[in-house]
């Protein structure tokens, strides 16, 4: 179980990386390596060229500017876990990261790598969708952005061209007192979730939910934003009933069947976990302590 031969490149700046990527026919970008390296070792992929992004400092940053949080694509998951900016502005990322692999993989794995790998059950794409993230993309031809919603093209395939690199992910933080929860069910801690749910809520003084974001991972081929559920909880004066009703809508979502897990089971998990996440986020928003 050894990687096949390839040409290795470790450009020192983004521009060089873009140049290489434009030039090479069958190249793979190496970010944290926690998905590409196993695939190389198992010889599931045979790139002629591997372009390592780990020596490009400009891709590694966490910053807040003009009300937007911007994370460089090569920012490692462990850096996010320990970032005060993230803790202050989007704590749901930290809550989700507890479920992302293990210490050793979070020390290498990057946010950009996780988003581009786009495993349907992965936590970070689900959270990015919940946060309405904007994906910054660059190529020799120029720069562009994509809403996270439009980022997945197909199963495990982002909507980027072969010469493009994801450089950063950016989003507007929710208000300070928002409620949040990331809840998932996996076979063991650190495994990809069977279903994961990211919920963000703003609760008004009267207890009604004024703004909601509900996203399911693992149910469809890419994260699913549950707009119907969001509409049900938003503005309702009986939040508990609304949360139940909202969760129940997940039963109708078209869920994947695969060799190991049925769509019906995914739907059931989606219903149960969405309700748990909603309640947890709600309790946090109103200042209740949560387990």
């Amino acid at each position: 179980m050894k990687p096949p031969p390839f040409h290795y490149h470790d450009p020192r700046c983004l521009d060089d990386a873009l140049g290489l990527l434009a030039e090479k026919e069958n190249a793979k970008l190496l970010a944290g390596g926690q998905s590409l390296m196993p695939m190389l070792n198992m010889r599931f992929v045979f790139p002629d060229d591997v372009i390592d992004l780990n020596r490009i400092p400009e891709l590694t940053s966490i910053g807040e500017d003009e009300g937007l949080v911007r994370i460089g694509a090569m920012t490692r998951q462990c850096a996010l876990e320990r970032s005060e900016v993230i803790r202050d502005h989007c704590p749901i990322i930290i809550e989700a990261l507890r479920y992302v692999g293990h210490i050793q993989t979070r020390n290498r794995g990057t946010i950009g790598g996780s988003l581009c790998h786009l495993d349907p059950s992965a936590e970070l794409p689900t959270v990015a969708q919940g946060l309405d993230a904007t994906i910054h993309i660059q190529s020799k031809r120029g720069a562009r952005t994509l809403a996270m919603e439009d980022f997945p093209a197909f199963y495990m395939t982002p909507a980027i061209e072969p010469d493009e690199i994801v450089t950063a992910v950016e989003f507007a933080p929710w208000p300070k007192d928002h409620g949040f929860a990331f809840v998932e069910f996996a076979r063991r801690l650190g495994d990809f979730a069977i279903v994961g749910v990211a919920v963000l809520l703003v609760v008004s003084a009267d207890g009604s939910i004024s703004r909601a974001s509900i996203t399911l991972g693992g149910v469809g081929q890419a994260p699913i934003r549950c707009t119907a559920a969001e509409e049900i909880v938003t503005g309702s004066n009986d939040s508990d009933a609304a949360m139940r009703e909202a969760a129940e809508t997940c039963r109708k979502i078209d869920a994947m069947d695969d060799l190991h897990v049925s769509g019906v089971y995914r739907q059931k998990l989606a219903v149960a976990l969405t309700l748990r996440a909603l309640r947890k986020a709600y309790d946090r928003a109103i200042g209740e302590s949560v387990a």
């Binding site: 470790d10 210490i103 050793q104």
Partner: protein, 170 residues
């Protein structure tokens, strides 16, 4: 097609300048190029954790890194843990005293994982230790005595820090 590169890696304080194939994993570099066979390889797809080493102080799976990526880095392996006079590190001693190993194959990866973890979290509870160990597979022990060893080691290391601090004050 052989794609090679000369790299310079500092492993356990010793610098190694070597020409290697760029597809060589860090695990294979450590084991077979510079003969540090204490780092073990159990799955080569980043699940078992046996190959965990520290790169610039962080625990990583060395089967999921290319050796060329460690060019210029400081790598720490289990071979570095014993101190002067071959004295066991408190973490190693705790594993011995608590029967925290059986076949010993997963042990170096677990030691390296805990070495970093206990730096960040010197007073962990059992749940935190179990979460920290969740990326390391052991088929022999059922983990119980590994967890006990880790908690014992944390306590010993805290005492060591206390002693050092005490000496500084006096």
């Amino acid at each position: 097609m052989t794609d090679t590169r000369t790299i310079s890696v500092t492993v356990n304080g010793s610098r190694h300048d070597l020409e290697i194939e760029t597809r060589l994993t860090l695990a294979d570099f450590l084991r077979h190029q510079i003969s540090l066979t204490g780092t073990h390889v159990g799955c080569e797809h980043g699940v078992c954790g046996a190959c965990t080493v520290l790169v610039d102080g962080q625990a990583v799976r060395s089967c999921l890194m290319l050796a060329v990526q460690a060019d210029g880095a400081m790598v720490t392996t289990v071979e570095s843990m014993t101190g002067e006079n071959e004295q066991l590190h408190p973490l190693q001693q705790a594993f011995h005293d608590n029967h925290g190993l059986q076949c010993g194959f997963c042990t170096p990866g677990i030691l390296m994982t805990l070495l970093e973890f206990l730096q960040h979290n010197p007073s962990p509870n059992e749940t935190e230790v179990r979460e920290a160990l969740s990326g390391s597979l052991c088929r022999c022990t059922g983990y119980q005595k590994i967890v006990a060893a880790a908690l014992d080691a944390a306590s010993r290391l805290r005492q060591d820090v206390g002693k050092t601090a005490g000496r500084r004050e006096s």
